[in-house]
């Protein structure tokens, strides 16, 4: 502990990041520039999320870290260790026990409450980047609410695939104003973006922070004749039998056998210990 300031970053840096977070909360969906710091991990590992968490955590907090819904991936484990070492805080794998949850690619299945903060790791914060690479132009488009281009992207999707094929990082309009990239969560999670918890988004390499205050209206973009669908694999979880959770497909052997399991490991484990059973419960370790 004595080697580091609490949660690694110095107090001045944390103040700077907190100012960006507060501005982000004041203007939901607006990308606030911030001076991203070098962190002792590569960019792909969520340095933006880590800096936001570092500026958010207090010694009383309980932290949970998930990657694709799982607490036990290398990325999640190393970030959790990082904060155990630099902040000496308690960590947990249980969604309901966490006060701060840092995530990559998922929103927990269990509804979050008003005492929780969800921090997202964001690779590319600019939803307009795909069709308009010029930063000066995208900034102008945001400030003037010129969002026709987002629908051009969805149009292209339908014309090429017969349906809106975008299944991750599905663009949303926030509080009737800013179009926002919700980070690469599956579009299944989009309806959950309107929630009780505070949501903070940190992009380290791109040096942007944005935020959603509790209960902010978040609308997924679509066409009248191709409405948004929060789709998932048409299966139930083979371990816990859940019907409405987001599933990962797992290949079991060379013969094409596969199973579907909840991507949210804590949610699935809780259901199993409560006695819920899926098709392969007990058969697979």
């Amino acid at each position: 502990m004595s080697d580091y300031n609490f949660a690694y970053l110095d107090e001045q840096t944390k103040r700077m990041i907190r100012r960006a977070i507060l501005k982000g909360l004041a203007i939901p969906g607006y990308q606030v520039p911030f001076a991203s710091r070098e962190m002792p991990m590569p960019y792909g590992w969520g340095t933006g999320g880590v800096q936001v968490s570092a500026a958010t955590l207090t010694p009383e907090d309980t932290l949970k870290v998930i990657d694709q819904g799982a607490d036990d991936t290398t990325n999640a484990v190393s970030i959790r260790k990082f904060f155990e070492n630099t902040a000496g805080i308690v960590t947990t794998e249980e969604t309901t026990k966490a006060s701060v949850i840092q995530t990559r690619h998922r929103i927990p299945e269990t509804d979050l409450n008003e005492d929780q903060i969800l921090v997202y790791q964001v690779p590319i914060p600019e939803p307009l980047r795909f069709l308009e690479p010029r930063e000066t132009e995208t900034r102008k488009m945001h400030s003037l609410q010129e969002y026709g281009l987002m629908h051009v992207k969805l149009y292209e999707d339908i014309s090429q695939h017969g349906a809106i094929a975008t299944s991750y990082a599905y663009p949303v309009k926030v509080a009737g104003r800013y179009v926002m990239d919700p980070s690469p969560i599956p579009k299944f999670d989009n309806p959950k973006l309107t929630m009780a918890a505070i949501q903070l988004f940190g992009a380290g390499r791109e040096q942007r922070i944005y935020a959603l205050p509790p209960y902010t209206e978040v609308v997924s973009l679509d066409f009248d004749d191709y409405p948004f669908e929060a789709s998932k694999a048409a299966h139930t979880c083979d371990l816990c039998g859940a019907e409405h959770s987001y599933l990962d497909e797992v290949i079991l052997d060379d013969e094409g056998n596969r199973m579907f399991v909840c991507s949210d490991t804590d949610f699935c484990a809780k259901r199993q210990s409560a006695g819920h059973k899926g098709r392969l419960a007990g058969e697979v370790a």
Partner: protein, 262 residues
Amino acid sequence: MDETLMDQPLLQVRDLAKNYGARIGCASVSFDLFPGEVMGIVGESGSGKSTLLNCMAGHVSPDAGKVLFSTRADGLVDTVTMAEAERRMLARTDWAFVHQHARDGLRMNVSAGGNIGERLMAVGARHYGDIRDQATDWLSRVEIQGNRIDDRPSAFSGGMQQRLQIARNLVTQPRLVFMDEPTGGLDVSVQARLLDLLRGLVREFGLSAIIVTHDLAVVRLLADRLMVMKDGHVVESGLTDQVLDDPQHAYTQLLVSSVLQV
């Protein structure tokens, strides 16, 4: 449009001027454009045609002068001093701009249908089927086969790209079209086809347009009136046939005679 509006100028340009440092871009240009009228701006390379056009279209901010446009909502408004948000709105609704190089006016990584649909979506179209129908309709108007709707412009010939750019601009039925050398850079036979097409569209829709070109054949075919530019100044203006058949200014006489030698 309201009948009484037909007698009012659609565009009034007053003393428009732009310098690049000590070099003159264009100097104190004034004229009126009436609804349904096509104005040609001719002159040799470097005479200030593009500068003038870009000042009018809001791409370049002039050093002096007014560009008064008869808006649907508020009547005559100086587009030079209007808020940028409004000017950009105008640029994707009542105005259109056809660039000399199609790649400057098209999204090369978006399909032909998406290129045409962009302006519709920019003003709120949210029905995929309707957008696609309109794109198909406009492809046929500019003589591009409907089955090319999902191809990217990079797969098109230069002439097709230019026709696509025109379709993309006209789909929202703009009231004023700016064109900068729309036939420049194309083969002569391709130019002829594009000119025919443009003439047909001008007649069918009663387009109001300002066309910049160094090619007198283009204005002969398309323009009701002409302005001749030299060193940033308008040296002569009038009805197209009058100016071309009976040029008064020595420079215009030179321009016309050099064309006749071709």
